[in-house]
Amino acid sequence: MSQPPAEKPSAPPVNILPSQLARIYSFVHPALLLALAASRFEAVVTNPVQELLNDLPWLALLQLFYVILCVPPAGSLETTSSGDNEEKKKASPRSPSAPRPGKSGHRRKQASGKNVWAGLWARLMPALLSVTLTTFIATPVLAALLVLFGAPLTTHNAETVLCAAHMAFLSASSLVYAHGTDGLVWKEVWGIARPADAVWGGALGTGLGAWFGAIPIPLDWDRPWQAFPITILAGAYIGYAAGSLISRTPFLYGKRVQFVPEVIEEDDKKTN
């Protein structure tokens, strides 16, 4: 059976932009999200639908702010993703301090003054695309997955959709922003075969976290927070934060989930 299907060149792992601000914020962002989620937890328990709906625009804005600030937009890497990714994978293991060739080129382009507007445009377009696709594709797909995993179909529809929307903005928005509609990348995404990076780690973490978040629901503890979407979303947020940070450690960065040869216990459980 196939190894990680790396036979064709695909996009390399995403690096956080090299600017100081971007690097700092990329660490702050998951923590910030978690802190905000924790602060709204009580409100979500009290009135899930209203609160999740209210929080959604803020989550979307935060995620957009994060990707625009920290993640190279789709297209910016295309120049580099042509042939040398194999070598890049080796070289890349975590050296954000040493700007990588593709990135520096991008920086230069942006720094060349004249193209400020073009640079902004290059970031706004993927951002817009990201919001659109996340809302209209990722959210329905995730909602369907939630239902397939056992979320109620006849009731709690608002909860399901909002839960899916939150998960979508956690996972898909940065993926779309960073990779656009690159078919190869998305094939890898569906095959859980992307190399680990902040964007992919966050997405995978969201799914895994949501999966584990379902575990406490059936227990008879009679706690209000055991209601349907809450634990799943809590798991998703925690998974996102953990995933996007852990996947950047030198030990994991650039590695892919292996299905057959090696034993990687939980990483392959699922996507939700």
Binding site: P5, F259, D268
Partner: protein, 1093 residues
């Protein structure tokens, strides 16, 4: 995948034409050798097949001793030859030992005591019944002391709540639950003739339902006794309530609605007010409701409306569950109860007896169900304004300071209340009359005490006699001597007939001794978990699993080669074990009975023997750890589910968890499929993964909720949650199944061009015809229920039975015959030049074609083994679908579809030939999942007994149980039958020549083994893996049930799940061995017949 070669242009052309003439002479000789070799290989396959069946029998199933229950004689003969008459069961032995220790059984006799018939009539015959004329007026067996009674049950009223707090140590201070309900103690001290207070010891399980049964029948609770009443349905045994009812008393029940379930129809419908007992968080609704309706009844103007009131307060119990005993809420609740009792006393008249009692206690956390002291020590208080109570000695003047002094068992209430109210003692009673109630105000009415004691003892003796008649066995000597001594004293005492006569007094004491002795004997028989036996059972099951792990996952070589050795070692081991067992027990080294010890040691010995065989060649062993994602996923599913059974929540919600796991598998399959290199594999794999997930979710809409799932679950299996018939629209499901299911199966067959040969007839005609008859059957059933047709019910029933039997005949009689003789699903067309060879479909052997330029095209070549074997699944699917309700038929159809989808997933992800454990494990999940989707739950009450009457109009053995099994475990049976398919589906044809050719081509060294036995080995591995899943689940549920034997939910959740696990394991073991592995024999033979060996 290699197996994708759906249309193999197999034969191709002959090799070198110049060699043909040279070879012509050798041809016949070679073909003779070939033939002989083929025969040898075939025989080898057959022998090894028997060997494998023998091994499986040993692991799975009954050996000689228990096999009678499960198998026909033919099968047993076969086994005897296989394992030399010495094989033993592992699973059955393990389950047997555990069950022996765990399931306490007691026969329920439905004899009733009657007013006319005194208990002496049978036992001694010396006394004749009193004149029946004034019987009703004065009491049946004994002069009644009260006309009316108010029986108040304060749920979980522990004894130490009711007595003044006495510190055991200096530093100990009173808790919040102390000294808050002083009325009981005060009255007993202040006016001993009016009241007495005693510790009132419950028998475990201390759950209200079981307690009420004990308190009214006077007998001990045991598992099976509880098991017959899981739904809380009516008590069959003779009991106080029924006796009161038949004595013409008007009974009123207020409070806890458990009474309604236990004694339906006995209570006066106008005055009775049951309240939901479920909501533990609500402390006041039930209590306020009881108060509201109780006090009006106590007013003088309402006196004539009732005779006995049963008032059941739940507040104390709920306060305990919610807050625990040491909480202000408990204090105020107890104070409230104190006021209530004082108010009742104030309202009481002289002819009414007041009884206040707890049905059990509570532990330090306020919960109950187990057997700890705090849980069993309740309080009993009786009160009357007339002052009839007495104490026989001055030491008993004060109420006991704690529950260790002068406790009485709760069943004592039964004879006491019966005799006080003048009704017969319920037949099954084992309790004794309470001394204080009959001793008279001066405490010296020995004649009365002796009389009531004699009555009670005689009834106990009569019960024991009846019990022994039905069960066999004899009275023990001590009871007999006690009884005759008591009778002797009674006779001598009755001559003098003074209350103070010592003979009367000693006869009373001897009767009482007799009663207590009998109670002890019965308690010993019925209510003790035999923990060593349970441990032995668990140890056997565990050992069996360890061996299975080794056998299924830890062996590199051909499993079939081991069979004969394995079986002989197993035989020697078990023989030695059995011999050792009998010797040990003959010389009295152990307490166990000879048979038990022999069985146990035989099982241990056989395991040791097999372990020796398997470990003998370490080179053959690998570490049975999973490798790769699929292996870990399989382990994860099995282990996490097993661990989950320790929690009542995960046991209750098993159906949803299985869906979650199945979807997880589907998603993983989709992911894995996305990684496949070839587009076909990718597309097909993803398609089937998506299909698999959607089908599972679709099936999950068929639900039958268990009580504990409410209110988060809505039943859809029947027309409504309160009915057990199908809605009219559901009658359309069988027709849809008849229309779609054959088409679905056909599409999977066509995928590999296997819709050839017998498949057409089988799937599109026979199967569909059977399904259509099934739909008509259920349509008629619906017509019967709804009375749509102007036909008598008898006619409808006759027609239905005929139709059902016809379907079963198609499925099993015709189906099995056809299965044995059918050809594989292939079509062979031979394109050749005009000159005709004599044997067109000659064995296709490389280099052996007789004529040049002959092209043989074989359709369906890529999936010969799989499609041929799948016929068996179709046969069973037809029978199982017939046995399901319409909703369940849809579910089974989805199961068949999901199985096919799973097989395609396995194939596109290259998991069939690599012997991955995931296939058999997911089939295990599917079987369990669809068990729930066919309207079942892990509760005995969800067994659809009525389905036994689908193909029969009366009960017929052995058919009736078989039909119920087909209905109940249909999903698991179907999934088990599909297990061989996980290695057979799209398995490429392997004959010895082809393998040899492959081997030499790839120069890997000759693979000496017969490929057919390799196939057998793979099948065995898959079957063993599937068994491993079920055995692990069984071990887990067994262990948890044993470990949690004091759990409140034991009888509701853990025991039923354990029984279900054991039942599934036993049944699937038989199905796997007899049908699945047996079926492989015929399908492989039929392929071998055409393509050689």
């Amino acid at each position: 995948m290699a197996s994708k070669s759906q249309k193999g242009p197999m034969g191709s052309t002959a090799p070198n034409s110049d060699q043909i003439n040279v070879r012509a002479a050798e041809q016949s000789k070679q073909s003779a050798i070939q033939e002989q070799k083929a025969r040898e290989l075939e025989n080898e396959f057959k022998t090894k097949h028997f060997g494998v069946m023998g091994v499986l029998t040993w692991i799975l199933d009954p050996g000689i001793r228990k096999s009678t229950r499960h198998m026909g004689d033919v099968q047993r003969e076969k086994l005897k030859t296989d394992c030399g008459g010495s094989c033993r069961l592992l699973h059955i032995a393990g389950i047997y030992f555990f069950t022996k220790g765990f399931l306490l059984t007691r026969m329920v006799l439905d004899n009733k005591s009657s007013c006319q018939e005194l208990p002496f009539d049978i036992t001694s015959g010396s006394q004749h019944a009193p004149a029946p004329s004034n019987q009703q007026a004065n009491g049946c067996w004994h002069q009644k002391s009260f006309d009316k009674a108010v029986v108040i049950i304060i749920d979980a009223l522990r004894y130490d709540f009711t007595v003044p707090f006495v510190p055991k140590e200096e530093s100990e201070t009173a808790h919040l639950f102390h000294d808050n309900i002083p009325v009981l103690y005060e009255t007993s001290i202040n006016s001993p003739a009016n009241a007495f207070l005693l510790p009132f010891i419950a028998d475990a399980p201390t759950a209200t339902l079981q307690r009420l049964k004990g308190l009214t029948t006077g007998t001990l609770p045991t598992f099976v006794d509880a098991g017959s009443n899981f739904a809380g349905t009516a008590i069959d045994e003779d009991n106080l309530v029924a006796q009161l009812h038949s004595a013409g008393k008007t009974l009123v029940q207020l409070g806890d609605d458990t009474w309604q379930a236990l004694y339906p129809g006995y209570f006066d419908a106008n005055l009775t007010r049951p309240f939901d007992s479920f909501n533990v968080w609500d402390l006041h609704t039930v209590d306020n409701g009881v108060n509201e309706h109780l006090f009006p009844l106590l007013r003088p103007e309402n006196k004539s409306k009732w005779d006995v009131i049963f008032g059941h307060y739940l507040g104390v119990d709920h306060a305990g569950h919610r807050y625990g005993p040491n909480h202000a809420a408990m204090a105020s609740k107890l104070q409230e109860m104190d006021r209530v009792i004082r108010d009742i006393i104030a309202a009481l008249d002289d002819d009414t007896l007041l009884v206040v009692m707890g049905d059990h206690g509570m532990d330090i956390k306020g919960d109950h169900g187990g057997e700890s002291d705090d849980e069993v020590e309740a309080a009993l208080w009786m009160y009357s304004k007339r002052g009839t109570f007495g104490r026989t000695s001055s030491e008993s003047l004060l109420p006991p300071k704690n529950a260790k002094e002068r406790p009485i068992p709760q069943i004592d209430l039964v004879p006491t209340l019966s005799l006080m109210l003048g009704i017969p003692i319920p037949f099954n009673n084992l309790g004794s009359p309470i001394e204080e109630a009959f001793a008279g105000p001066k405490g010296n009415d020995w004649a009365n005490l002796a009389t009531v004691s004699r009555l009670t003892a005689a009834q106990i003796k009569r019960y024991q006699a009846a019990y022994e008649i039905s069960r066999g066995g004899a009275d023990d000597e001590e009871s007999l001597s006690l009884w005759s001594a008591a009778e002797a004293e009674w006779k001598s005492g009755s001559k003098s007939f003074t209350s103070k006569s010592t003979a009367v007094r000693s006869s009373y004491e001897l009767y009482r001794k007799y009663q207590r002795h009998t109670l002890d004997v019965c308690r010993g028989l019925w209510t003790t978990f035999d923990v060593p036996s349970m441990i032995q059972g668990v140890a056997l099951l565990f050992g069996g699993i360890a061996l299975l792990v080794l056998y299924a996952r830890g062996m590199r070589n051909d499993r079939t080669e081991l069979s004969s050795q394995l079986l002989s070692f197993v035989g020697v081991g078990s023989g030695a074990g059995a011999a050792l067992g009998s010797v040990l027990s003959l010389f009295g080294f152990t307490e166990m009975s000879t048979i038990d010890l022999s069985v146990f040691l035989a099982a241990v010995g056989s395991m040791a023997g097999s372990a020796v065989v398997m470990v003998k060649k370490p080179a053959n062993l690998t570490i049975p750890l999973p490798n790769g994602m699929w292996g870990w996923l399989a382990v994860f599913f099995t282990v996490s589910q097993s661990v989950g059974f320790a929690s009542n929540s995960y046991t209750i919600w098993e159906d949803e968890i299985l869906l979650f796991f199945l979807t997880t598998f589907g998603v993983c399959a989709g992911i894995s499929s996305m990684r496949q290199k070839t587009t076909t594999d990718r597309v097909l794999g993803v398609y089937h993964s998506v299909l698999f997930v959607i089908l599972g979710r679709l099936a999950s809409f068929s639900r039958l909720c268990r009580e504990e799932q409410m209110p988060f679950c809505r039943s859809t299996y029947y027309a409504s949650s309160t009915s057990s018939i199908s809605a009219p629209w559901q009658l359309g499901i069988p027709f849809a199944v008849a229309f779609f299911l054959p088409a679905v199966i056909r599409s999977f067959y066509s995928g590999s061009k296997s819709y050839e040969g017998a498949a057409t007839l089988w799937i599109s005609y026979a199967f569909r015809f059977g399904l259509l008859i099934t739909s008509i059957f259920w349509m008629l059933e619906g017509a019967d229920d709804g009375e749509w047709l102007p036909v008598s019910k008898e006619t409808l029933k006759t027609v239905r039975v005929f139709l059902a039997q016809l379907v079963l005949a198609i499925a099993f009689a015709a189906g099995t015959g056809a299965y044995i003789y059918s050809k594989p699903c292939i079509s062979i067309s031979v394109n050749k030049p005009p000159e005709d060879p004599n044997a067109p479909p000659a064995p296709i052997i490389a280099g052996q074609e007789q004529k040049p330029r002959t092209t043989v095209t074989i359709l369906g070549f890529g999936n010969m083994y799989g499609t041929r074997f799948f016929f068996l699944v179709i046969n069973f699917a037809l029978a199982i679908i017939l046995m399901q309700k319409p909703m369940g038929q849809g579910a089974i159809a989805l199961l068949v579809w999901q199985i096919l989808s799973l097989l395609e997933i396995l194939d596109t992800n290259a998991l069939t030939l690599s012997n991955s454990p995931i296939g058999p494990i997911v089939l295990g999940l599917l079987g369990s999942f669809y068990f729930f989707k066919t309207g079942h739950q892990a509760t005995p009450s969800s067994i659809q007994w009525e389905t036994a009457f689908i193909p029969l109009s009366t009960i017929k053995y052995p058919w009736t149980p078989i039909f119920v099994v087909l209905n109940t475990f249909g999903a698991q049976i179907l999934a088990a039958l599909a297990v061989p398919l996980t290695v057979l589906w799209k398995r490429p044809l392997q004959t010895s020549d082809r393998v040899a050719a492959d081997a030499s081509a790839s120069s890997k060294g000759a693979k000496s083994a017969n490929p057919a036995t390799r196939l057998l080995s793979d099948v065995t591995q898959a079957v063993a893996t599937h068994t491993l899943y079920l055995a692990t689940i069984n071990l887990a549920t067994t262990m948890w049930a044993g470990h949690l034997r004091r759990h409140l939910m034991l009888y509701r959740i853990f025991s039923p799940r354990f029984m279900m696990g054991a039942g599934v394991l036993a049944i699937v073991d038989v199905v796997l061995m007899v049908f699945a592995v047996g079926g492989v024999r015929w399908s492989t033979l039929s392929v071998g017949e055409i393509f050689g060996w």
